[in-house]
């Protein structure tokens, strides 16, 4: 079989933010993280280089899933949990479209959990933007599969008794090829990661730690808040050492089989001892460990954590069709109808 790599049609026409702005009123709450995400998308889409007609946005249900109405592309607002399945159909039907799936922690990890793991397992070439606000917003404040254990919500008045998902761990457990994590208060990092996601062939999952100002305000503040973030956030860069702290004085090393936080200059640690990030590594071992890190003992890791190259489902579909067309005697439906045992009466 011949190797096929379908790419989205490119254009030389310079696009701008205005090309993707919709005329619809954005109906998210003032202060919602969604506004910043929308700004990042409008910033990154013109830079990717695709024809504007080749973008297709697909969503499920929830606050996040109103997104397609707010961007001027082709778009379909689906039903609860099914955005990944709808996106899969769009991409298989036309692999020349750049498909963006907008979803939330309830939509993708609860009602749509099955589609989420399977789209990742198949490595369909689409970009999932997962708004993780750790709460059900549109139904007004029930706990979600990412709500931290013990959290009081409207359906957990005594605190939740469920273990939350770590999205990165789930993605890699489902054999994911791309995972990035970004906070909603850093548009530059969001834009950068979305651009990386667009470049990646296969399913990309970008977890956006989004603030729900009404029902889970400051849920991420203990990590991404201005006062603490130097100590609690480690922003990865491919090929660069994993450093954090106010003056980049702290870093991660691998000790035995575990990651450990060290300080440069203490206990004989030098800059050379610090782990260097390899987002392209096919082996997800270190990447998985990175995705699971969290305060208080570790910083949380942001940026592109994994971006490994594997064949995409949609390319393989095209490859099989091409091979069948080259080798089969059945070239049209008349051939098919007359194939096998037939006789004249």
């Amino acid at each position: 079989m011949e190797f096929i790599n379908m790419t989205v049609e490119r254009t030389n026409v310079q696009l701008s933010k205005a090309d993707f702005e919709s005329d619809q009123m954005v109906k998210w709450c003032p202060g919602c993280g969604g506004h910043a995400i929308l700004a990042a998308v409008e910033r990154v889409f013109p830079k990717i280089g695709y024809r504007k007609e080749n973008f297709c946005m697909v969503s499920g249900i929830g606050c996040s899933s109103r997104f397609p109405y707010y961007v001027n592309t082709y778009g379909i607002h689906g039903i609860h949990g099914r955005a990944a399945a709808i996106s899969t159909g769009v991409k298989i039907a036309n692999p020349r479209l750049s498909v963006w799936t907008v979803t939330g922690d309830g939509d993708s990890l609860a009602i749509g959990g099955n589609h989420f793991i399977h789209v990742i397992r198949r490595n369909v070439d689409l970009n999932i933007l997962l708004f993780n606000n750790q709460i059900y917003g549109l139904t007004k404040g029930q706990f979600s599969p990412t709500t931290p254990m013990g959290k009081v919500t409207k359906t957990s008045p005594m605190g939740t008794i469920e273990h939350p998902f770590n999205i990165g761990e789930l993605v890699m457990g489902a054999q994911g090829t791309f995972f990035a994590r970004v906070p909603d208060n850093n548009i530059a990092l969001m834009t950068e990661c979305m651009f990386e996601a667009a470049k990646h062939d296969g399913t990309s999952v970008t977890e956006i730690m989004e603030n729900c100002i009404i029902f889970a305000d400051k849920a991420h503040a203990c990590v991404t808040g201005k006062e603490v973030k130097d100590e609690t956030m480690l922003i990865l860069k491919n090929g660069a050492p994993m450093l954090f702290g106010k003056n980049n004085e702290k870093g991660l090393i691998l000790k035995d089989t575990r990651l450990e936080v060290v300080e440069i200059g203490k206990n004989g640690i030098t800059a050379e001892d610090i782990l260097v990030h390899d987002q392209y590594s096919q082996d997800p071992g270190i990447q998985l460990m990175l995705a699971k890190l969290a305060p208080p003992n570790f910083p949380m890791v942001f940026g592109v954590i994994r971006s490994a190259m594997y064949p995409t489902y949609d390319d393989l579909v095209e490859e099989q069709i091409k091979y069948a067309r080259q080798t089969s005697k059945i070239r049209n439906v008349d051939d098919l109808l007359n194939s096998g045992d037939t006789w004249e009466i």
Binding site: Q24, G89, I321, W343, I345
Partner: protein, 616 residues
């Protein structure tokens, strides 16, 4: 070998059933027998009858697998009610199928399969071959296993292989009984076992041995001749309903120029459509085996948005899971073909048995005001035409359409007169032109109320659709009360307007009379045969068989009005009849129903019709 002089009895139609253990090869034996009947020019219909389990315990009633062939020198409409010749390879298969044998039927059975253990396992208290319980039948007892082994002695075939060929010995005997040539089967062996030449020889020897042995059997007083049927000229093939459904979709894709996408999840009895379409990548069919029923339909909705002829195939429980997504396709006004190969319900029900009990679900099983087109095929071979038409109507009217078939149609096979693609009706989906300045997502054709299909990637048509109600014409999200009324009415009227594009309802018989028999879907053969029989007897009875359910043909009310009494026959508790009563409240509509996972028998229909004709 010289044949004994036996009288030849000519029969217009014969029903033969092969039954045995799941591993006895009854499906193959039956289909080889029917292939030869087709080649000599009989019309025929076949039905495989197998358990839900793959290999239930040996020699038990639960493990019996069967294949029924109804062949004739005139048009065959059903797979046959009662059996003229029963081939039973063991006591369990005899036990479970004897109830289908006509009095006087020929029963051929392998005496080697009867011992104390197998007789007990089958649930017999004593050996049915010796206790005179089979006196009503023409019993042919043959030591088939022993004779098969003996015939292969010279070849030195091992015992296991020899035993596995015993079905070919039985088939050889049947070919003798029906005066058939063995050549076509020899040719079949040569093709099938090209890579295992020893099997060609073994099968030929055993088949011939069975044929020769039958010639010596005293119990066979005559041979049966079924002459060729007078069929419409043309090229023919055998086809099952599920394969015909799959090919109809491929044909609609080719004709419309829209690539085929199938998103589906395996479920009995619909899986064969998914498997069949998976084979046809050379025709560009994109087949996605989804993680569940919901992903099956949702991927199809995505593919439809992206411009494919998108389909999903399932059976009753799967249709339940798809309900919410059908609503999405209704409100987004995207074409989508949903095939439901009905089985016995509710819940898991009777997976391998047939029923018509999903009609309500197809018509009404969704939240909100949610009309879809509903079409039903009536024979295995016309699954091709009706799946084609379902796809055509769905695309041309930009609305989801459900095709109802059932397990009997899907698994059953019939002769299919091969059409030419050039003769199939044109399919013209309303695709929006690039940069059309007039384009709006919900602008409609004033006559049909159909919106345009604006396919992603097309220049100048970027737009959003979705599950929230949209403003008329411009397609932005709207919660305006009057707008919701307008859009609801448009969606309903758009589907009603399909009635202008389907044929009028036909009547078999006079347009006026004492009794109109109404049926739909897979019961066509039995009901048609029953009515025809009574028409020949001079009864004032007519038959209207419906293929288009939603909307109904425009003349439906007029068809019903011409009769003193109407009886609607269905394999459910009365779903179509209540639908008709709702649309056309008439006091003279009665019903005849059966929910046993079994088709109608012709005599139970004629009994009912006669009773209705006699009642004042």
């Amino acid at each position: 070998m010289a044949k004994k002089k036996r009288p030849v009895i000519e029969r217009e139609e014969v029903v033969v059933k092969f039954v045995g253990d799941s591993g006895d090869g009854m499906q193959l034996t039956g289909s080889m027998f029917s292939d030869v009947a087709a080649i000599v020019g009989n019309d025929l219909a076949t039905f495989p009858d197998f358990p839900a389990e793959i290999r239930a315990p040996q020699n038990t009633v639960a493990g019996v697998s069967g294949f029924q062939v109804h062949m004739g020198s005139s048009k065959i409409f059903t797979t046959g009610d009662l059996v003229d010749v029963l081939v039973a390879m063991n006591p369990a298969s005899l036990k479970s199928n004897l109830k289908w044998a006509k009095t006087g039927a020929t029963i051929l059975t392998d005496t080697d399969a009867y011992d104390a253990k197998t007789i007990e396992k089958a649930g017999y208290k004593q050996d049915p071959l010796t206790d005179n319980s089979l006196e009503r039948f023409n019993l042919v007892k043959a030591p088939i296993t022993t004779l098969t082994k003996e015939s292969l002695k010279e070849l030195g075939t091992d015992a296991k292989t020899a035993e596995r060929s015993k079905n070919m010995f039985a088939l050889g005997m049947l070919f003798y009984i029906f005066n058939r040539e063995l050549k076509p089967s020899f040719k079949y062996f040569e093709q099938k076992f090209k890579k295992k030449p020893e099997l060609i020889e073994i099968n030929k020897i055993v088949l011939q041995a069975g044929y020769n042995y039958a010639d010596t059997v005293e119990a066979l007083e005559s041979v049966i001749q079924v002459l060729p049927a007078n069929m419409e000229k043309g090229r023919y093939r055998n086809i099952t309903g599920n394969v015909a459904t799959a090919w109809g979709l491929l044909a609609a894709a080719e004709k419309s120029g829209r690539p085929l996408f199938l998103g589906s999840y395996p479920i009995t009895p619909a899986t064969e459509i998914l498997m069949e379409l998976s084979k046809h990548k050379s025709l560009g069919a994109k087949v996605f085996q989804a993680e569940d029923e919901i992903a099956g339909i949702c991927s199809a909705i995505g593919a439809s948005f992206a411009g494919s002829l998108a389909c999903t195939t399932t059976s009753g429980p799967g249709l339940s899971l798809k309900s919410e997504a059908i609503g999405l396709a209704v409100i987004t006004e995207l074409p989508l073909v949903i095939v439901n190969v009905q089985r016995g319900g509710p819940s898991t029900g009777l997976p391998t048995k047939s029923e018509q009990s999903d009609l309500y679900q197809a018509l009404f099983g969704r939240n909100g005001e949610c009309p879809v087109i509903v079409v039903a095929a009536s024979t295995s071979e016309n699954c091709f035409y009706y799946s084609y038409m379902t796809a055509k109507l769905s695309m041309e009217h930009m609305t989801p359409a459900i095709l109802l078939t059932d397990g009997y149609l899907g698994f059953g096979s019939a002769l299919f007169r091969i059409p030419k693609m050039a003769d199939m009706p044109a399919i013209n989906p309303p695709i929006a032109e690039p940069n059309d300045p007039e384009f709006k997502p919900y602008r409609r054709d004033p006559e049909t109320l159909v919106r345009q299909w604006a396919i992603p990637g097309t220049e100048g048509l970027r737009h959003r659709i979705g599950g929230l109600e949209k403003e008329n014409i411009i397609g932005t999200v709207s919660t305006d009360p009057m707008n919701h009324q307008i859009m609801t009415d448009f969606r309903a009227q758009k589907v009603e307007n399909v009635a202008n594009f389907i044929p009028e309802q036909e009547i078999n018989g006079q347009a006026e009379g004492d009794l109109l028999v109404v049926s739909w879907g897979g019961t066509y053969g039995a009901v048609h045969s029953a009515v025809s029989q009574m028409q020949k007897e001079g009864k004032r009875i007519s038959h209207a068989h419906f293929h288009y359910i939603m909307p109904l043909p425009k003349n439906t009310e007029n068809v019903l009005k011409g009769f003193k009494k109407i009886v609607v026959c269905e394999l459910n508790s009365g779903q179509f009849v209540n639908y008709l009563r709702m649309k056309f409240p008439m006091p003279n509509i009665t019903q005849f129903n059966k929910v046993q996972g079994l088709p109608f028998m012709i005599n139970e229909l004629t009994d009912k019709f006669n009773q209705l004709l006699e009642e004042k």
